[in-house]
């Protein structure tokens, strides 16, 4: 009986965790749906057939890189160049993977592999904000947060995955019907903007964003192509970390008054 109770409790908590993830990403779907639609419509418009966009969306499952690879292929580029363009854009996933790894240390390997497949900008952004807050509060036991973290991430990731596949399919079927004056692809940077703005609450974060964005623009001007995203990111991370060093980290008595009003520092 006790065993039965525990199983029931775990299921309820898993469902609650997944629902938390779903609710967190729901507003972002306004950006995901047009993005997926473009990812579905573009290969069809270039005569690649209906199966290619579906293959891209299920196997690669990373919008910006899908569009970059298709652009290379339709421009007459070779497979290695298309793969390189896609993988360069997705290199930021290594950063995301490193960023969430400490929070998943007690989650089993098979579950972490599931999380890896579902790792996207949106699932990452909504999860890391929540986990960092919980970390500050320190209100839950480690075991409880580990369980909830997994299901919240999967709830967010699976919601995004399903929306991505459906909108890709919609783009494949009716993509040609959208007039060209409606620039659906602009939903892509706008959906990243929605994730960016709430992170700009500390001085190091603002510096990281300003240098990261500025360096990416500069790298693009100098001809870095798809690599400019990674080059910009790395420059921003370094600049943010340097500024962060000026702010006292922790330790009893070390933060002088007036310097500790910075939310992300413990």
């Amino acid at each position: 009986m006790g065993q039965h109770h525990r199983v029931f409790d775990a299921r309820t908590r898993a469902a609650a965790g997944a629902r938390t993830g779903l609710v967190a990403v729901a507003p972002l779907l306004v950006g995901i749906v047009p993005f997926g639609f473009v990812a579905g419509a573009t290969p069809v418009a270039h005569g690649m057939g209906w199966a290619v966009p579906i293959g891209f969306s299920t196997i690669v499952f990373a919008g910006a890189s899908q569009l970059a690879a298709i652009e290379v292929l339709t421009g007459g580029g070779s497979v290695p160049v298309a793969v390189l363009a896609a993988c360069t854009i997705n290199l930021r996933m290594v950063l995301y993977s490193a960023s969430i790894a400490p929070y998943t240390a007690r989650i089993g390997l098979r579950r972490r592999i599931t999380m890896a497949y579902l790792l996207t900008d949106q699932a990452y952004a909504v999860s890391i904000v929540r986990w960092a807050e919980q970390d500050l509060d320190g209100r839950c036991s480690e075991e409880a947060t580990t369980f909830d973290r997994f299901w919240t991430f999967v709830g967010a990731g699976a919601t995004l995955w399903t929306s991505w596949q459906i909108s890709t399919l919609a783009g494949v079927v009716v993509g040609a019907a959208v007039p060209p004056q409606i620039h659906l692809e602009f939903a892509v940077p706008l959906s990243f903007l929605v994730l960016l703005v709430p992170t700009l609450v500390t001085r190091p974060a603002v510096v990281a964003a300003a240098v990261g964005g500025g360096a990416a623009v500069l790298a693009g001007e100098l001809g870095a192509g798809p690599a400019s995203i990674l080059l910009g990111s790395l420059a921003g991370i370094v600049a943010g970390a340097v500024v962060d060093r000026d702010v006292p980290l922790d330790g009893p008595g070390s933060p002088p008054p007036g310097l500790s009003g910075d939310g992300t520092h413990r």
Binding site: S97, A105, D250
Partner: protein, 102 residues
């Protein structure tokens, strides 16, 4: 197999490997030194800004401030900052691009 499918397969494997890179070894990261944590927490603003800014400032591959995407992006950023509303940000940004762009 066509060029498109080879691209899907290899880019798919590469992307999954990058997503799994640190997650696979997460069990060794129970204690992260504050110095590493300080670097990791710069990732979201730096990476997201590197995606957003070029799309607003150089949509045609050259920096150009006198075009619709820059204007729409600036207004959308203000909306996002003031309201923290994803739906409103997307709607205002897309609508402005249609209005200014035509």
């Amino acid at each position: 197999m066509s060029a498109a499918w080879w691209t899907i397969l290899v880019a798919g494997i590469g992307t999954f490997a990058m997503r799994a890179s640190f997650l696979v070894f997460a069990h060794r990261m129970v204690q992260v030194p504050p110095r590493v944590h300080r670097v990791l927490r710069q990732i979201p603003p730096a990476a997201l800004a590197a995606l957003v800014l070029p799309a607003f400032l150089r949509p045609e591959g050259r920096v150009d401030l006198l075009q619709a995407r820059f204007a729409a992006g600036v207004v959308a950023a203000l909306v996002a900052w003031r309201t923290r509303n994803a739906v409103l940000t997307l709607v205002v940004g897309m609508a402005l691009l249609i209005l200014v762009g035509t």
